[in-house]
């Protein structure tokens, strides 16, 4: 069976994670993974991004299935419950707003740029090697914050990929929950 071009988008997701280790500004590219699914849901009322173009989902499928790094067990009931899915979405949005606010504080010169990536919203990882200091501080601050979001979700996804089915992340992915919610409202 001939493969479609979009079946190789996992390469994009893998490169994205690597680029963040080299230069933090590349983190901005990740906005594609937020804007495209949202536009798809709002404008077209579908989840074509999740269904076809999500490189992360493909990457988990590949690592979990082809490399056999997944136990392939059923996900626990509470992780697929609506309160957990929507609760995680709300938590994610609060943390995202917090990150935007930090960017604003740096932009308005009320706070200095903090050169670290925060893993799982708590663990501060020194990341100064990926920042040469030649970028506008707020642009760098957003990059550090956004990359923290992307790295955290990748790590969480890897953990659930191992314990449950490869694409277990898709069950509680905030973007997935949000786009499905938009589609439900739009196609009511």
């Amino acid at each position: 069976m001939k493969k479609h071009w979009h079946e190789y988008l996992w390469v994009f997701s893998a490169i994205y994670i690597v680029l963040g280790f080299l230069n933090i500004v590349f983190a901005w590219i990740g906005l594609i993974c937020f804007i495209v699914p949202l536009m798809g849901a709002i404008v077209n009322g579908n989840k074509s991004y999740c269904n076809k173009y999500c490189g992360r989902g493909q990457l988990f499928q590949l690592i979990g299935n082809k490399l056999k790094l997944s136990r392939n067990k059923d996900i626990p009931k509470f992780l697929k419950s609506n309160w957990f899915r929507y609760g995680f979405l709300i938590f994610f949005m609060i943390m995202f707003s917090n990150m935007i606010f930090s960017t604003y504080l740096v932009f308005s010169e009320n706070r200095n740029l903090k050169e670290f990536v925060t893993l799982l919203w708590t663990i501060k990882l020194p990341w100064q090697w990926a920042y040469a200091g030649n970028i506008t501080p707020w642009i760098a601050q957003f990059a550090f914050g956004f990359y923290s979001v992307m790295l955290t979700s990748t790590v969480l996804g890897m953990v659930t990929m191992f314990f449950f089915k490869p694409r277990a992340w898709c069950v509680y992915c905030p973007m997935g929950t949000m786009t499905q919610g938009i589609c439900k409202i739009k196609n009511r």
């Binding site: 996900i75 697929k80 089915k165 490869p166 898709c170 069950v171 499905q180």
Partner: protein, 67 residues
């Protein structure tokens, strides 16, 4: 008259997260994501291979015996 029992995939629409994992694995293109809300399985195309059951990350697809 003979009745032949067949297996067909059955989705729990309420729990489906509409990720599309099943769509990509179905050998008969029998599955589509209905308006971004849930997976819809065309029973006339489904051959009961269970690939979607195995891949579904939410484990919300089961096999139903139909006559």
């Amino acid at each position: 008259m003979n009745t032949i029992k067949k297996k067909k995939a059955d989705v729990s629409k309420k729990e489906c997260v509409a990720c599309g994992s099943c769509v990509s694995v179905c050998p008969r293109d029998a599955i589509s994501i209905y308006k971004g809300i849930y997976a819809f399985i065309d029973r006339n195309l489904c051959i009961g291979c269970s690939k979607c059951v195995k891949i579904c990350p939410a484990s919300v697809i089961g096999m139903e015996v139909v006559i």
